[in-house]
């Protein structure tokens, strides 16, 4: 069972560490002393940061240890206040959070390339651990402005060694050379990338030369959404079929629609191939795919129902299904 939408947990900030310039790491525990629900690498939690603001932060602790959760937060001076509020938290402060949820699940493969830009390292940390424990062939390329801004860089290097962990600090060796890093696709290798939009755009462009579906990204969408109740349930009206289904927080539109017997052609089911592209008749989507162009996103006429959802504040989508 996953948490119902909006279900919150009373937690407490157990520990606050400054882990890099402008980055704090928070260790959170449940106030009732119980364990958190099991979660998988790539998961995040909602953090209610006050004044009705909700932010999503990736978990960077170990899924093996459910007595606490760890998040890493970069202070973004021009943000809408989420990171500033989190940076003001002290150990012992009560905090309302959600159970872990996963929009960036790690798929089974033989090889992995992890690619982090700055604070984008956080969701990858549990992935490295999982890949390592399973004896996979993997490397991490981690880029940042300078070593002192790169959270967890030293710990990762110490833990896994420089063979697997490549730290690329811009002030030492320049920016990530994506042509070199992604110029030679490997068989059965998945690429997991997280970082700022500019970096991910450049990564996506280069991965067009990789097998379809090799690249998985997590964009920092949540930070620009305002008070997004990230996986709130919403309704989808199927205009052709004439029915309406409710999409719960733990299901995709595709799954919910298929459950009522309506077929949608799909392939990767991960926002990567574009097969399930569906026309929107009304309503505002929150795009979570890696396929649509910026113009497509702006136009809001189509969406990939395998990953994308209704935007915050849009309780109902009408789709051409």
């Amino acid at each position: 069972m996953s948490a119902s939408a909006g279900a919150t947990i009373d937690a407490v900030v157990d520990q606050v560490d400054v882990v890099a310039d402008q980055v704090v790491s928070l260790v959170l525990r449940r106030t009732d002393g119980r364990q958190f629900q099991p979660w998988q690498p790539g998961a995040h939690i909602d953090v209610h940061v006050g004044d009705g603001l909700v932010r999503q932060y990736s978990l960077c602790s170990s899924p093996e240890e459910l007595d606490h959760l760890r998040i890493g937060v970069l202070h973004v001076p021009d943000s809408r206040g989420g990171s500033k509020a989190v940076h003001a938290l002290l150990a012992g402060t009560p905090l309302t959070i959600s159970e872990p949820r996963n929009n960036f699940p790690m798929r089974e493969s033989r090889r992995y390339l992890f690619l982090a830009g700055g604070i984008g390292i956080t969701p990858l940390i549990p992935m490295l651990e999982a890949a390592h424990a399973a004896g996979k062939e993997w490397t991490l390329v981690y880029g940042g402005r300078s070593r002192n801004t790169m959270a967890f860089a030293q710990q990762l290097e110490d833990r896994y060694g420089p063979e697997r962990i490549r730290i690329i600090a811009e002030d030492e060796v320049g920016r990530l050379d994506l042509d070199q890093i992604l110029g030679m696709p490997r068989a059965h290798m998945l690429v997991y990338a997280c970082g700022p939009g500019g970096l991910l755009g450049a990564v996506e462009e280069r991965c067009m030369g990789w097998p379809p579906g090799a690249l998985h990204t997590e964009r920092f969408v949540a930070s620009t959404l305002g008070a997004a109740a990230a996986n709130a349930p919403f309704e989808v009206e199927l205009a052709r079929t004439g029915t309406t289904v409710t999409v719960p927080n733990d299901k995709t539109i595709l799954e919910a629609v298929e459950e009522v017997g309506v077929r949608v052609l799909s392939s990767c089911r991960g926002g990567l191939c574009g097969t399930c592209e569906t026309q929107i008749i009304s309503g505002e989507p929150e795009h979570r795919d890696a396929v649509l162009s910026e113009e497509d996103r702006e136009a809001g006429e189509v969406m990939l129902v395998c990953v994308s959802r209704a935007a915050a504040g849009c309780p109902r989508l009408v789709l051409d299904l």
Partner: protein, 399 residues
């Protein structure tokens, strides 16, 4: 860990023998039953026909490489009949070419084609709906892609008549140099030269896929020669296969009247019908890969340099993947995962265009035709690697 290996089962049957080309499925069943990996005496290559092995060969592009060519000869040793295409290349050369192509052909650019692609399909099917009988191949499947696709690439009208003969050469060369190959290559130089001319920047319009590929030369991503080869790849791979896809879909639907009725009720299902028909009657049936390093597949040791003949059309009918009714058309089957467009690194880039063309034709036909049935026996085409029909007479009831 030690891997125990056994010898491949040696098969005397020739997949390129006329009877096996005209009706491939009985042979493909025997090939699948013979074991995970067989050795074909006739071609001197290994063969895989089960879904699992075909999937492994297609996705492990480091072990099973493409630069040896898709035919039975190793073009690395023995240069091919033309400069290697994107299909005949490996990373990192393949990578920049694929990047350039995927940047040009993707869901956004293909979506914009629905509008220009619809009226020609409406017009063609409207004319055919006035008749009681027609040939679904020569009157429809061969006509439609030639009406829309060359315009989408942006080539001039002059020289379009060479597209089909050129496609016929390219694909037949993925098989042995038999009489079919020789026939296809009879006026080969002329067709190849005409198609190459239409790949040059100055002969392409300013808005088509061709011009957009050439734009990537200005960006410094690819060379002029690579741009020429990529436009050539579109022209050679984008016409025949789609014609066969449309023809094969109609050949199946003519045999399944209840599916046609179901589609008439819900024309939105047209794309599922196309997908299932592509699984059942895959236009691109087989091609070769080359083993790069000694490896083991399905318990059989494959030496570096060996050729592996990959039977896509057999994998798409493997009962272990699709169930006991794998040889039947089932509109309600989830056909996703079929390998009709290949899989992985070299998976067909033009797939969304092909699917769009097939869906539009079928939807337009469904609108105007209440029932369709065979009007005599279809005539299968004699082709080394493609499966399709020369003629498919049908009788219709107009809506």
């Amino acid at each position: 860990m030690t891997v125990t290996t056994h010898e491949a089962n040696v098969l005397g049957e020739d997949p390129f023998e006329t009877a096996n080309l005209l009706d491939p499925y009985p042979f493909l069943g025997r090939l699948r039953d013979a074991g995970a990996v067989s050795y074909l005496e006739s071609t001197g290559s290994y063969a895989v026909a089960g879904y699992q092995e075909v999937y492994e060969v297609l996705t492990d592009f480091e072990t099973y490489i493409s630069s040896g060519g898709l035919g039975p000869r190793d073009i690395r040793k023995d240069s091919g009949w033309r400069p290697p295409s994107i299909l005949e290349s490996d990373p990192p050369i393949h990578t920049v070419m694929r990047r350039a192509l995927t940047g040009v052909i993707n869901p956004s650019t293909v979506r914009a084609l629905r509008e220009p692609f619809t009226p020609p399909a409406a017009e063609l099917t409207e004319q055919l709906a006035q008749r009681k009988t027609f040939d679904a191949i020569t009157d429809l499947a061969e006509k439609y892609p030639l009406r829309v696709f060359p315009d989408a690439v942006g080539i001039p009208d002059v020289g379009r008549e060479h597209l089909l003969p050129y496609g016929n050469m390219v694909f037949n060369a993925f098989g042995p140099e038999n009489y079919i190959f020789k026939q296809a290559f009879a006026q080969g130089d002329e067709h190849a030269a005409a198609v190459m001319r239409n790949c040059q920047r100055e002969n392409l319009d300013d808005t088509g896929f061709g011009a957009q590929i050439w734009k990537r030369v200005e960006d410094g991503l690819i060379t002029e020669q690579q741009a020429t080869l990529l436009v050539r790849a579109l022209l050679s791979a984008g016409v025949d296969t789609t014609i066969f896809g449309i023809g094969n879909t109609l050949s199946v639907l003519a045999r399944y009247p209840e599916a046609w009725a179901q589609l008439r009720e819900n024309p939105k299902m047209a794309k599922f019908a196309v997908d299932e028909a592509l699984r059942l009657e895959s236009p691109f049936q087989k091609f070769h890969r080359t083993v790069a390093v000694d490896t083991v597949l399905g318990g059989v040791h494959l030496p570096a340099g060996a050729k592996v003949l990959v039977f896509l059309g057999a994998a798409n009918r493997d009962p272990r993947k699709w169930g006991e009714n794998a040889d039947d058309f089932d509109l309600n089957r989830n056909a996703s995962g079929h390998v009709a467009f290949g899989m992985g690194l070299h998976q067909c880039v033009g797939q969304p265009i092909a699917r769009l063309e097939m869906e539009i034709v079928l939807q337009q036909l469904l609108e105007r035709v209440a029932a369709i049935e065979p009007d005599g026996a279809p005539v299968p085409i004699l082709h080394n690697v493609l499966r399709g029909f020369e003629s498919l007479p049908v009788r219709i009831t107009a809506a």
